[in-house]
Each structure stands twice: as structure tokens, then as C-alpha cells.
Symmetry: C2
Subunit: 333 residues, 2 copies
Amino acid sequence: MTIRVMHVGLGPIGVGVLRQVMARPGFEIAAAVDIDPDKVGLDVGEILGLEAKTGIAVQGDLEAALASHDTDVVALCTGSTLPGIKSQLESILGAGLPIVSTTEELSFPQFSNETLTAEIDQMAREAGVAVVGTGVNPGFAMDTLPIVLSAACERVDSITVDRIQDASVRRLPFQKKIGAGLEPDDFRQKADRLEIRHVGLAESIAMIAAAFGWKLDQITDVIEPKIADEPVASNFISVEKGQVAGLIQDGVGFRDGEPIIQLHMEAYLGAPESYDAVRIEGSPAMYSKIEGGIPGDITTASVTVNTLPRALAAPPGLQTMRDLPIPSWWSGS
Amino acid sequence: MTIRVMHVGLGPIGVGVLRQVMARPGFEIAAAVDIDPDKVGLDVGEILGLEAKTGIAVQGDLEAALASHDTDVVALCTGSTLPGIKSQLESILGAGLPIVSTTEELSFPQFSNETLTAEIDQMAREAGVAVVGTGVNPGFAMDTLPIVLSAACERVDSITVDRIQDASVRRLPFQKKIGAGLEPDDFRQKADRLEIRHVGLAESIAMIAAAFGWKLDQITDVIEPKIADEPVASNFISVEKGQVAGLIQDGVGFRDGEPIIQLHMEAYLGAPESYDAVRIEGSPAMYSKIEGGIPGDITTASVTVNTLPRALAAPPGLQTMRDLPIPSWWSGS
């Protein structure tokens, strides 16, 4: 079986997904779509920086692409918010195709918009296909993985997930996204305008709470700059002492006023150790740590590509990583 | 919602499941069955060592229990092998009840017996309910968890799982099961007679291979004694230097002659550090470690109880942990 994938959205994440589908057995590029006029008409090989052409040109019109291609599933990597992708979901579901999307808010859309969640679910059921939002975070590191670890417990009192990343090894857009090199005031203004933020902590918290059957009274999501206490540099950006090296973001789910789900992210240039850790207080207490951490760029694409077979096999409707069979790498055979 | 559970089999594992169902919100004991004449007629409270009685007496006859109780799901904890539980499966499925079982061979029955696997699947489909084999190992630590971790990878070359347990903190039957206190010759004879062994490594290997789409040419499962190089003791057993402190067991899955799935267990008195670790060679490489390890006794029961709601919601037929939605602790509300 080869799964034929239409790629919609060719930003850094979409290109990462495209690269894996191109390279991995069991998957094949059916079509690629992006609205950027600089990309339309380019061969997919050029988009990937390959020497060889693939014969598949980037199309600018989603409707036209949907009308003319032999596709099993769409990888949708265009935006972070539900309202931003609504019309794309309508078009793709209208063509009867299942969707795996890296749209952060789609990972657990019940959190941000119950009305739109119900609409998407209804559209997907009518189309007879599944829609899933996923990625490494949200979608894996701070929700699926801690939920799975909890299965060994007879009692969970609270759960804490730490995701610490040395951003100096990441791509430039990521380093900019976390505010590296800014003055602290600039950082705070950009954070207030939502230009600097990781989207998804609240969705992950809501997914964990739903899995556990916990009713939360509040979810908070707070961003602070990590100020460099000495100069630090990446290949792209130099940060002076007192400038911003990156971000610290804390999502907290409260029940009866107590913080019982705490998701803590640090992503900054010069973080001494990258790791992902889950701590469960309960019976038994558990502490799980991934040394070196789950790198962000490859794994957002991995989790997305690994979810394509799951979406094809899933019952119609809106699905989340909590609803699907356990995720897995797949060799293509 | 309260899930009413009939407990069949009240050995150490079955009693662990009973204890959690008794204590945890969302679950309720519907009935308890065991063939041991010393247990039949006892109140479940006495079985659990509680002061208070529950009003539920242990029954000796499974058919009679099935005929007269208001049950949602059966927790079956009677044996390790498929042939050993076949008639019980027939009776329970004949009564139309879903089953979660700690029978190790049922965790991935395709490995040991394809004919019986097909029969069980057919019986479950006809009954309109699901049958699932699970527990902490097999069922979680060395299959579900490594499979889930692989979802972050674009490529897996090989996977190694280490489960190291200091057995001195475990119950006496477990210490005996791993051969603690034996002379090395006695250990080898008992291992040859299959009286000392952990059942399930091959099932876990087969489940991982199925998830990855790997065709294996061989699965090996080798048990060796861990010889004490100095005296060591638990609360129950004293081991002299040169005697057996416990077991070392290695399951290996080979593809094209290469060992690509390696499950390594050590369980012995005096192991300096208990831990569970998963190492994936591939892209990205990953190393995940649970410090202190996943304790065996509580968590076999936890995984089993946490799977009860999944079995109730699953489609009819034989299911494995690979087929079900991600496992999770559940608070009962």
C-alpha cells in the first residue's frame, strides 16, 4: 500500500512533511499547494532543494488541485488557528478527503471553539472521513506521551511536563519566533500582540484533563522572556547580556484552585540541556525523561506523517490523538 | 458512569485488580470467581484483608456467576497461556461480556497461536464484544510505550528496551518466580521446564514488529540466572554468593539476520538501580528512561483496570493495545 498525500501549505512545517513523504517508503506525493506566488509553479524538487525534479509543480489554487488529483489524504500545514483554516477544511472535506493537520488549535479544538468543533465534526462525518490535528507539540510531547504514561497509575494527583530546548540548534524562523535577540520590552509587546507565543499548551492541558476525566476550573498560559545573563549566539543571532535569549512559557490547569496539570516550556539560545520530562505524582509516582529531548522540527513532521495511516483508518468525524489507536512509526510495508 | 467488573481469578494479579476496582471511583465489583476451595465462600473484603465485609462472596462456579450477575466487563486473571484460558473465554463470551485479561499470551496472541487467535476473534465478534490482553509487561512497558515513542521518528533502524528491577522490594511469589535463592543448576532445570520464565517478551516483540511493519525471520527468548557475587537478602529470601539472585532474560527479534528489536530484562535481588529505558536508533535517535522503573505489581493491575473502559468502547473482536485508543489513567468521572 502506498498512501498518496496532497500537501497544502509549504511553509517550514509543510516542507518538513513534504520531505518525509518524498523520502519514506509507503508514502507518495500526490500534489502540493501553496498560495505564495513565489512558490507556485516551482517543482516540488526545487522546494525541497533537491537536484532532481519530481514532475510535480506547486499549484496555487486549492480547489483546482482538489478537482484533479488522485489523493488519499491531505496534509494541511497552513496556520495555527481554527478560524484561519475553516474554509480550507470545507474545501478539502467537500472533496471527500481525510485530513491530518499541524494546526495547533485543531489538536484539541474543543478548548478554543466548541461551535467550530461541532461544525468540523459534522462536515467530516458528512464527508465520511476523519480530521485530525497533530504534531510534536501539541500532539505528542506534552499530551499524548504523558497521557500514555499515566496508564501505569492507579491514581494521579498531578502531572507536570517539562520541555526544555536549546534553541541555538533550531532553524532561524524558530529562533525569531521565540524572540531571541530582542530587547525585553520588545519581547513583551510582541507577546502581548500574540506575535511571540507557542500555540497549544492550553489544548494539551484540555486533552489531558479530558483523558483523566478531570473538570478544570481554569487554564492559564503565561509567556515570559528568558533574559541572557551572558552573551550567547547561534549561527544566526547574537544575543547580548540583558537581551532576550528565548521564551519561557507555562500552561497550568487548575482544579478547585490547585494547579494539577503544569506544562512548562523553555526554548532559548544556550539552554544547557535539552530534555522532555514527565512527572506524575500519584500511585505509583513516575518520572520519565527523554535525554536530549524530542527535537522539534523533524518530529512535528514525523508525528504528522505517522498519523496519516491512522487518519485513513479512523471512523469519520473529528478525531484527536486521544481517540486514535496508539501512534507509531511505520516502515511503509 | 460506574463500570461493574466481574473478577475471574484471584491469584496475586487478580487480587491486585480487585483491590483497585474496589478502591477506585468509576469502578465497582460485580462478582468474584475462583476455583480455589479455600477462597470460595469468603467475602471479597476478607480476600483483600479488609476489616469490613463487602457482602460479595467468592463463587466457585464461573457459569453460575455468569448466569446471575449484572456485569459490564470481566477481568480475567487466571493463567499465562492461551490454551489454558480458552474454555473460560468461551464461557464469558457466551454470556456476551467483554474481557480484559492479564493472560500474557493474549497480549499479542498472533505470535503463539494463529488458529486460536482467529477462533477468539470470531467468538468475540459473534458475542458483539471486545477481548483484550494487557498488563504492564506484556502490554505496556516493553511494547505500548516503545511503540508510542517511535511516533516521533521519521526512521527507526532498531529499538532496544531495558527493564531492570530490584526484586528485593517485590512480593515473595515474584521472588520465587525469578529463581532467587536457587542453586544455578536448579535454576537451569526449572527454566528448561518453563517453571522459571517471564512470559511475554516474544509477544511484545511481535507487537512492535507489527506496528512498524517489520517482517521478522526469528524471535529468540533466552533466560539466564543472575548469580550473586556477594550475599544479598530480601525480607523473604537470603541468597549466598554463587547462588541465584534472579533472572536475566533477553528477547530478540531478527530481520535479515540482524537483531533489530531487543528486549532486555533483569530482575534480581540487589539490582543497584531499577529503571525502564527505551533506546531508538534512527532519526531522530531517542533515549527515554523512567527513573526508578515502572513497579510491576501495582502497574499490572493499573494497566488492566485502565483498559476496562477501552474494552467497553472498542469494536467487537480481538483487540490488542496496538489497536485501542491511547491508554490512560481515568479518574472515574
